[in-house]
Amino acid sequence: MRNDNENMAARILESRRAISDAAPRREADKVEEEGGCGVTGFACSIPVAGRHIHAPSVQMHNRGNGKGGGIAAVGLSPDQLGVTREVLDTHYLLLVAALDPACVESLENKYIRPNFDIASEGTIDSIADWRDMPSLLVQPPQVRRYFVRVKPSVLDAFAVSNNLGSLERDRIEDEFVYQNSYRINTEYYAALGEKQAFVLSHGKNMMILKIVGYAEEAVEYYKLDDFKAHVWIAHQRYPTRGRVWHPAGAHPFIGMHEALVHNGDFANYYSVSEYLKQRNIRPLFLTDTEVSALEFDLLNRVYRYPLEYIIESLAPTTESDFDLLPPEKQKIYRRIQAAQIHGSPDGPWFFIIARNLLDGNGFQLLGITDTAMLRPQVFAIHDGEVKIGLVCSEKQAIDATLRSLASEDSRVCPVADRYWNARGGSSEDGGSFSFTLTGDPASAQSMKLVCRDKFGKEVAPPAGKKRLDISLPVGSENGDGMTTEFIREKLLAGDPEALSAAMMERMPRCNYDAVRSFAELVAEHSRLSDSARSAAIETLTTLNDLRYPTGSKMRSSVLQVVQVALDSVFKAVPPITGSGASRHRLIEFETRDALRAPSAGEDTLVINAAGFQPELEDRDSKIIIDAFRLGWRKFIVFNSTGQRFHGVGLGPDTTGVRIDCYGNVGDYLGSGMDGLEIRVHGDAQDQLCQIAKSGKLAVFGSVGQTFMYGAKGSEAYIMGNAAGRPLINAVGKPRVVINGTCLDYLAESFMAGDPLNGGGFAIVNGLEFDDDGRLRPLPRPYPGGNLFSLASGGAIYLRDPHSVTSSEQLNGGVFWKFTEADWALILPYLRENERLFGISIERDLLTVDGVLKSPLEVYRKVGAVNVKKLVAATGGVE
């Protein structure tokens, strides 16, 4: 069997010699230079309309430049394509982009009509005049669509002439279609002369459309707003060349039955291309994304690797993670790595793949990150009657997708049930997650969605929880609700602690109606007075921020209720343009020019971020700077959808400034902060607090990549995880508590002096919240392979009572004895951590397996090799 497979792979590749020889010889130079991009995708148990890929695409405009966008849809509906279910399932859906429509006839006569039985053909509908979309600078190609099968006689001849007869018939047919498309692309696209046409996609039950513009413009131009599919992916491209006149270089790219989008840039494009050329695969579009798709197809369809081995080929398991694999896996992986390392993409990359698994195996959405996790990536899952799996460059794009879906379907909650990052090349999840939809797409039943990591381990949504349908009216069955009088009294008395505590106490046993009526009452009564409003904000914020048991209710649904209430409280704040006295003033995009100095008694500026740009002049974070100069010191920003740079640009001397952020705050928050305090009520994104000098940050969630890169100081408290490279190159005295863990490269090149002598440190508690809001230790407090690499100062305090972390995970650092002096140093920070997040020092941190331990038994210290000696020699740091 093995030999058969090897032989067949060799024969398939040999059969491509002719097409490879016919392909133009070019220097193995990328003509398309790009790195960046925004990628997004989701898989849904019911078919959903193309307009829902619109919102996340729009929100990631600043990850592209409008010079290349594309979408792919997998798992389509036959009726909207005018074919039967049988044709949709069994026929190849060939889409040809005609850059020059005059070439269509000759192309069809040469490559389509002689080779295929055509069940249906047509031109994809588009808006009548492309100039009606003023943002388009180039006319999108006319797209011809054919549902085809290879003519039996043609297929027979192909099989015989290439000695492929013993291969399964459908595999021979796949190969024929693949080679036929390759010939089309060679003749009409890659050959010298005018570029006339290229194949957009040829897989079954899937299609790709690309445009010189933004991704969502492909949806708009080709009128896919109402077009339904189970899986959607989109890509915003950022080609660095300005003049792009056709979208062939845009993503997604095809293999066979899959569409691949990519964020990143291979450092070894040449090597990977050579690897492919040796297998008679010659790239025609000269981008690393095309190469990625070709490679995936090679491993999947020619070598028939299972998905796990494909992922291992692309993102090999290395370092301490390799050591942690079971021996039999090590044996196989070693072989895979030896065979495939030259084709393994090096450098930053992140793939999202949508594919048709065929033969009733369903549809799949897949995200794979590189071993070093150099590109941002977030996965999420949404459970309930409608099940959704999502993967994006940014969490804000996930939330935008869910908001878009929720706006039309009340079974969808705008908050996902889980959000997480993959750890590239790791022994835990392998840096990849797939969402697979199975079941009969033809039946009225929705499909089943399962999320698995590289190793097949399932990521299940919280069990035994019920989703709220927020469109239903609030019932009178309040369960264990609170009386209106109690709520009113506590709000007027300014006692939010009592209110939130009472609600959290009831939460495990009360029903949704009780939560909803509570939230609505709090919101309603917030209008009674300034102090009631402050108390209402604090009450709802606590319920939004903290973790607590929610009984049979989904936490995401509870958050939905709380966030709706908070939103209404904020929106009811007296506008900046209005009269009457109030501590709070609301400013919105429409009223931004009315910004003025605070009048007597005013102290908090509430900013509705909706409508503001993510960067440059019209960004909401600019309002904060202007307002600060006018004398405002307290800010609440809500409704954020990825806007950036909050807390940036205020300069030094900002002690006393406080910024509270709600919604999806964007990148670079607090980068440069010097004195101010920022609270993020939820997850934060990438590049937080770069070069931060002083001040305080609290994040009631997780933070993204390169948190506190080059920081000089300040305190930070993170309730969840920090993704890759936190505290890299930090100096001075940053002091950080991370209650979760981080993906890898924590405190690389940390140079923060001697912590016991005024330097900096990071505490990693290695905890996570379970689905009932209880803390539990992670299997490994720090799973990465590079802790404190090349660091010359500072320390990591690791909660590691079972000494799971090994010195192999350090790269230049050493374990120092954790002493009473260390405990005295970190204790005040853990107290503040307790105050902020309710993570108790005694109950949660020092209790191990039910037994209260001494801190010296619980914490470990990682420091630089020679810091003591140096400190002794120089008398320490200031």
């Binding site: 230079e33 790195g35 060349r241 930053p348 002049e617 300069g651 010097d674 390169t706 190159n729 005295k733």
Partner: protein
């Protein structure tokens, strides 16, 4: 901050006035040695003959001062009436090549180029025409390029030549500063740590006098530079050392250092020895520990990250011009276009010839494109893209003379950055040991408290001012001889250049 510089001197503005700024060493190195034997009768004839001031009589004492032989033109004088060796009545004088001359410099920075730079820095003009001041002996690069000067005088009056350069050419960013510098060059990044505060202040004062800029490098922004904020480029490099919001807000230009032409793909490494108490304070690190700058920006792994990075600086300082300093890999053209689309005002391409002794030998000159190739490539690519006049292209990496500057501009750069020339002006001998031990034996590339005081701020400022004057004089001469009236007119005029190997002189 415990600086030994007198704050008043540091803050006192300097002018462009040329004042002679002689060597700070007793024995300045020259091309020749004059030996005066004991036969000398002190008649003073040689002093009255020599037009270059080599000989001087010590008052009426009848004694001669030791010959200032670094001024000596040696064999070039042999045919002159005043050739002192032949005219000495008692034959007491002897002339030899200075053996140090033959060991000085290298093919790129020849002994002549070094000595000529010293001459210009001392006098504000070229006074010693016998030294080759235009090119080196590398056998390639700028050394193979020559201008095609018209045979007949152009008639352009040198005083009409405009050497100014507008740094913000973007029409889509009206909020950003408009900055015109008077000469088409500014000083490259040298960090506190790699050089001393004395040197940094001197560079800043000279930059202010010539209404141009100097760059902090990545080691922080010493407070002593505050009076020169308007002439400082603050650098944001991969280690982010000393980068603070406040320092970004106080300047008019912020420079991202993505890479250095001398060592693209490599990070920085300040060895523990050079991380002195002062350096550590500035970088907020621990004295004596090695300091690393990673090779990439860890927050920038792609073009959209780069745009975000630029937007971040604009969020802190909306009026600042953003410069992106990049090395010259083979796709530098696309990098430059990407910089334009990310909102950068200045793309600064650093070629492979530059760099101090601190760059590893294996990297120097071996990785990136030579700058003369990179300039035309980027210039043409930007032009094809239709954005050439929206961005300022600055070239650096081994520009050693006014002629190099002119050649870089003729190849397509708007202006240049100079680094090593600044060091040579204050008598760097290019020994290449910048990174070892306490640092530079001449007190330039060192923050050692004793060594750095070998450099006096007034001296160094004046030497730089003088050199810049000489550069400008020569540049004006070149431009007017070519029949042009401005630096801007010279840009991209490759037709005015010839390559010794490939072009036929007309």
């Amino acid at each position: 901050m415990s600086m030994t510089i007198d704050n008043e001197i540091a803050a006192a503005p300097a002018t462009r006035e040329i004042k002679t700024a002689p060597s700070r060493f007793r024995n300045q190195i020259g091309a020749y040695k004059i030996f005066r034997s004991e036969n000398c009768i002190g008649c003073g004839k040689c002093a009255s003959l020599c037009p270059h001031g080599v000989h001087e009589r010590f008052g009426d004492s009848g004694k001669m001062v030791r010959p200032r032989d670094y001024r000596c033109r040696g064999e070039n004088c042999r045919s002159e009436e005043y050739f002192c060796i032949n005219k000495c009545p008692v034959g007491a004088l002897a002339l030899r090549r200075n053996p140090v001359y033959s060991t000085l410099g290298d093919y790129r920075w020849t002994a002549d180029l070094i000595l000529s730079t010293w001459d210009q820095a001392e006098n504000g003009h070229i006074t010693n025409e016998t030294l080759e001041s235009e090119f080196g002996a590398s056998g390639g690069g700028f050394d193979k390029l020559r201008f095609r000067f018209p045979a007949v005088p152009s008639g352009v009056d040198p005083s009409e030549v405009d050497t100014s350069l507008e740094l913000n050419r973007r029409s889509d960013d009206p909020a950003a500063h408009k900055i015109k510098i008077d000469v088409p060059w500014y000083g490259g990044g040298m960090s506190f740590g790699s050089i001393s505060d004395n040197m940094m202040v001197s560079r800043a004062r000279a930059a202010a006098a010539w209404n141009t800029f100097t760059c902090t490098g990545e080691g922080g922004y010493p407070e002593l530079l505050r009076p020169y904020d308007d002439h400082i480029i603050t650098q944001i490099a991969t280690g982010l050392f000393g980068v603070r919001e406040e320092t970004i807000q106080r300047v008019k230009i912020a420079e991202f250092k993505y890479a250095q032409g001398a060592k693209p793909g490599l990070g920085g490494h300040l060895l523990g020895d050079k991380n002195t108490a002062d350096v550590a304070r500035m970088r907020e690190a621990v004295q004596g520990t090695a300091l690393f700058s990673p090779f990439p920006f860890h927050s920038v792994y792609s073009i959209e990250d780069h745009k975000k990075h630029v937007d971040w600086i604009k969020a802190m300082n909306p009026r600042a011009l953003i410069s992106a300093k990049v090395a010259a890999p083979s796709d530098v053209d696309m990098v430059a276009v990407g910089c334009y689309y990310a909102g950068v005002h200045i793309v600064h391409v650093d070629g492979s010839y530059g760099g101090t002794g601190a760059a590893p030998d294996i990297a120097k000159k071996n990785i990136a494109l030579p700058i003369e190739y990179a300039i035309t490539r980027v210039h043409n690519f930007l032009a094809d893209e239709g954005v050439r006049d929206e961005i300022t292209l600055i070239a650096s990496g081994g520009l050693r003379s006014a002629h190099d500057i002119a050649k870089a501009i003729a190849l397509g750069a708007d202006g240049v950055v100079i680094g090593t020339s600044d060091m040579v002006a204050v008598e760097c001998i290019r020994c290449g040991n910048c990174e070892s031990g306490r640092g530079c034996a001449r007190g330039i590339a060192s923050t050692d408290r004793e060594l750095k005081n070998l450099i006096d701020v007034e001296y160094a400022t004046q030497r730089l001012i003088n050199l810049y004057n000489s550069y400008r004089e020569q540049l004006v001469g070149i431009i007017s001889r070519l029949g042009l009236r401005s630096v801007a007119e010279l840009r991209g005029r490759t037709d005015l250049l010839m390559h010794l190997d490939y072009s036929k002189p007309e």
